[in-house]
């Protein structure tokens, strides 16, 4: 059985997205926040997805900031004035710096979510990425616990998170050794934005030449 499938009591294979639909529609399987999350987001996307036209999608995507929460339903204010309702299920993978649970989600957080559109207009989420950013930057300063980065015409403070922040140099394996970072390097920073102070917790910094 693939990682992306479970089975019904009758023994039929049930794809993850089908499971999500059933979970959200069934209601009873939507569980409390403490039991949510920590699933592998990569597994949510293992099934081939047909694609014929850029205007046609088989799953739904949402982005914006979390305006409120009603149990396992997130109310999201989109960046273009639209609104979304994101249903968390016990199959939803949640990322915020690392795989986590719904307990880590706070009002004001930014969010990207992908899942299955439900008849009531909500989205039953396969995966939710909270505050995730992936920025192409230039290293402008290096401190003991932070990097000063230029992103376009703006500056970003990247926080080094002990035990979490890692680096990759010239395509090499990830390492916790940040000593080879240099001012002026182009860098790709994957991390989590902190709405409270507008800094970014660095998960991974990749530098090339």
């Amino acid at each position: 059985m693939s990682r992306n499938q479970s089975h019904t009591p009758e023994g039929r294979a049930l794809g993850r997205r089908g499971f999500l639909s059933a979970a959200a529609l069934g209601g009873a399987t939507i569980v409390g926040a403490s039991a949510l999350g920590a699933l592998d987001a990569d597994a949510a996307f293992a099934a081939p997805t047909p694609s014929l036209d850029p205007a046609v999608t088989t799953t739904a995507f949402a982005e914006g900031r979390i305006a409120g929460r009603n149990g396992s339903m997130l109310e999201v204010a989109g960046s273009y004035g639209d609104t979304y309702r994101i249903q968390l299920t016990n199959a939803t993978s949640i990322w915020k710096v690392h795989p986590t649970t719904a307990d880590a989600i706070e009002p004001g957080d930014g969010l990207y979510a992908r899942g299955v559109p439900m008849p009531d207009g909500s989205i039953a989420a396969d995966a939710v990425w909270v505050n995730i950013v992936n920025l192409h930057c230039t290293v402008r300063g290096i401190g003991r616990d932070r990097l000063h980065l230029a992103h376009g015409t703006h500056t970003v403070v990247g926080r080094i998170v002990p035990g979490t922040t890692s680096a990759s140099y010239r395509g090499g394996a990830l390492t916790s050794d940040l000593s080879r970072l240099r001012i002026g390097q182009d860098a790709q920073v994957l991390g989590a934005w902190r709405p409270s102070d507008d800094t970014v917790d660095i998960v991974r910094v990749t530098v090339g030449h």
């Binding site: 997805t49 014929l52 950013v133 395509g171």
Partner: protein, 141 residues
């Protein structure tokens, strides 16, 4: 416009944000074509124009043959291992291939080299997890 199945290129794709957005992405703007949105299935191509090529310089990484595809071009992007696909429209210039020459992304023991495509969060998340940061892909048109 529908996506096709004629091979165009292969390599790594990363993701980026554009258009109105939250956090540091709020300053990203609409990209080289002016209409890029994180919530749409959009992408950035390193040879979207001559000026774009001068910034990305994939030729410095041995990817000199990447064809010119400008704003509005449509591509089908397929994850090398899962087969998951997404149909995108080019709305920006990128990624900066020359800054990461030789970088590889692998799955099932097969690797793709060099960043030759940037996807919006909507497009990237249709074929992989945003937390992975990059994926090995084949591109068709």
């Amino acid at each position: 416009m529908a996506c096709g199945s004629t091979y165009l290129w292969r390599g790594e794709t990363t993701w980026f944000c554009c258009g109105s957005a939250w956090g540091p992405c709020g300053s990203a703007g609409g990209g080289a074509c002016g209409n890029c949105r994180s919530s749409a299935n959009h992408g950035a191509w390193p040879n979207a124009s001559a000026a774009c090529w001068d910034i990305t310089r994939p030729d410095l990484c041995g990817e000199g043959g990447i064809p010119r595809r400008g704003c509005g071009a449509v591509m089908n992007v397929k994850h090398q291992c899962t087969g998951a696909t997404v149909c995108i429209t080019i709305t920006d210039c990128g990624p900066r291939t020359k800054s990461f020459c030789g970088e590889q992304t692998c799955c099932n023991g097969e690797c793709r080299s060099n960043r030759i495509l940037d996807l919006t969060p909507a497009a990237f998340s249709a074929i992989g997890s945003l937390s992975s940061g990059k994926l090995p892909v084949w591109i068709y048109e």
